[in-house]
Symmetry: C2
Subunit: 348 residues, 2 copies
């Protein structure tokens, strides 16, 4: 089980060491989960829990930072006073991300909403930072580091691990891939692959619970995809599928997750007492925008996923266009001339 050593060593890097640490903790926890039958449960289970605690504690700060960037960028885009529909002349369009110039009470609301989100998310980020520092200084962390340090030589294997690596690892990896395939197949992919289905925005004025129920299966697939990817990284486990496609799918589900979390943060900000109506209005626009990014990510994922799974494609021939590869990645570079030149283009 040399892979564990390799992974744990990666945790001792420098510079962006907390990112590396978090990533490898997540990776180790994932690998321990997939290959659980090979190790003694009484040993693996607590270790996995500790690794999960570490990665989630360290992950919170960068999450808040990303979320704030994302929302401020969206607000800039939503209030950009550009005329991007007019084919750009020789002088080019207006600078992308230019702040709104004037624009009355509603434009003022955008600026105030940005300030409110900045306050709230910066506070959350600072708290997460303190919590991460505290965690790294704790005896709990040192105990975990000790446990990881001896991983390479001292893994208590179960009886099931007695056998050639291929024969032992492959079925478990295949199980992880199958769990992913099943969960992704249960997603409403056919509906999501219809553009502008307005599904994700549906209950955005309803209860939080409704949205959470709607998003949960997608988040679940995101986690299973990650587990499947980690499982395949173990030497001898066999491939999980076409790596580029898996990476694309992971990126889209990550975007889905970030957009959903951002929308929740906006809704939470809108519940702040005594905000001005213009601020609340801007937050409402922003919320719907993020929910549409959720929908866009689902759309792209559905097209990508359906384009590569023949079983799905057979039952949904009409949702399988020749352009699915293009539709799945509507990045500006893939767009024809005029679209590529338009400012403020975003990558869904």
């Amino acid at each position: 089980m040399a892979f564990l050593r390799g992974l744990s060593l990666r945790g001792e890097g420098d510079g962006t060491w907390d990112t590396v640490l978090r990533g490898s903790a997540r990776r180790m926890a994932g690998v321990l989960h997939t290959y659980a039958p090979l190790t003694e449960e009484a040993w693996a289970e607590p270790l996995r829990a500790e690794l999960g605690w570490l990665s989630s504690t360290l992950g919170r700060e960068p999450q808040y930072a990303t979320r704030l960037d994302r929302l401020l960028e969206a607000l800039r885009r939503l209030s950009a006073a550009g005329t991007s529909e007019v084919p750009p002349g020789p002088g080019g369009g207006p600078a992308a991300g230019a702040p709104a110039a004037g624009g009355g009470p509603l434009a003022l609301g955008a600026a105030r909403a940005a300030a409110l989100l900045e306050r709230q998310l910066t506070l959350a980020r600072t708290r997460a930072h303190s919590a991460a520092l505290q965690a790294l200084g704790s005896s709990r962390f040192h105990a975990l580091a000790d446990a990881v340090a001896v991983l390479a030589s001292d893994v208590p294997l179960s009886r099931a691990a007695a056998g050639p690596a291929g024969a032992v690892l492959e079925p478990l990896a295949a199980q992880a891939h199958q769990r992913l395939a099943d969960a992704a197949g249960a997603l409403p992919l056919n509906r999501a692959s219809l553009p502008y289905n307005a599904e994700a925005v549906q209950a955005s004025l309803g209860t939080e619970l409704t949205t959470d129920l709607q998003d949960a299966p997608w988040h679940q697939v995101r986690i299973l995809l990650r587990l499947s990817r980690y499982a395949a990284e173990v030497p001898g486990a066999g491939p999980a599928g076409e790596p580029a496609r898996i990476a694309d799918a992971g990126r889209l589900l990550q975007q889905h997750h970030e957009a959903a979390e951002s929308a929740s943060a906006v809704a939470a900000a809108a519940r702040t007492p005594r905000i001005a109506p213009a601020t609340a209005y801007a937050l409402g626009v922003l919320h719907a925008d993020q929910r549409h990014e959720v929908e866009a990510a689902r759309f792209a994922f559905s097209r990508l996923w359906q384009s590569g799974s023949p079983a799905q494609a057979a039952t949904a021939a009409s949702a399988q266009p020749a352009s699915s590869a293009q539709a799945a990645q509507p990045v500006p570079a893939a767009a024809p001339a005029r679209a590529g030149a338009a400012p403020g283009a975003r990558t869904p």
Copy 2:
């Protein structure tokens, strides 16, 4: 020019006579515009202006009614406490359009936003109704009716009208079709045919002016499409293109127009002084939703238009999917099994 008589007679119908009257006024004005070189300008120009006045005066009331229906329906959809992502079981999903049950301050905002819009649009509608009644009782209307009544026998034709109907009418109709083709070709169709391009929502927190600038070319194409259709209705003028496709395109541009106007109405409502933040938030979500409907209509139109114009398709091969017909009309009926059963599906 017997067609004018036919059109004017249709104006004397009953029951929904004001709808008929408005439609035929618009139609006559359109035909007079396209075939202007065949009539004396000093006679046609004032008549056209009066027909335009009548159709716009009569059109306002139904517009407000449609807009209110559209917005209330969207609010219901946005606050629906459904769980439509879960594949519907034997009991089916929750009833479509069910009102939000509970849901905290933000759900309350949706109800208040609905009440606000209802108040404002009903007031506007009542005023438009009075204005229409006043117009129909005015001497201005009677003068117009007199002018229309003698149209059949007494059209002052210009010298250009001396010739066989086909030779005279066809070039002018072709001109109308060409104006439409040019204007539609100048639209950013390639960009709009990328799903989730986030173009229409871009400046929704900016100035009204920016949005208007962005929408104007699309509204212009909508009017030119109508003119082209009316021109082709004249016997001897030749066809404008495949009728079903033209009708679909017109419907999509009409949806585009309605969504854009509805979004403006929402933004106007959000400027009402002293509304609660929750109300403003709901209006913001609704505004962004309507702007996304604008984008969805552009998307569908672009796919439809590009699928039928070879010149366009050659320059934008990548935006020409095999499924464009399906993509252009993602109505629930066209969607595969699970999607069709989901409640709250909307026709973009």
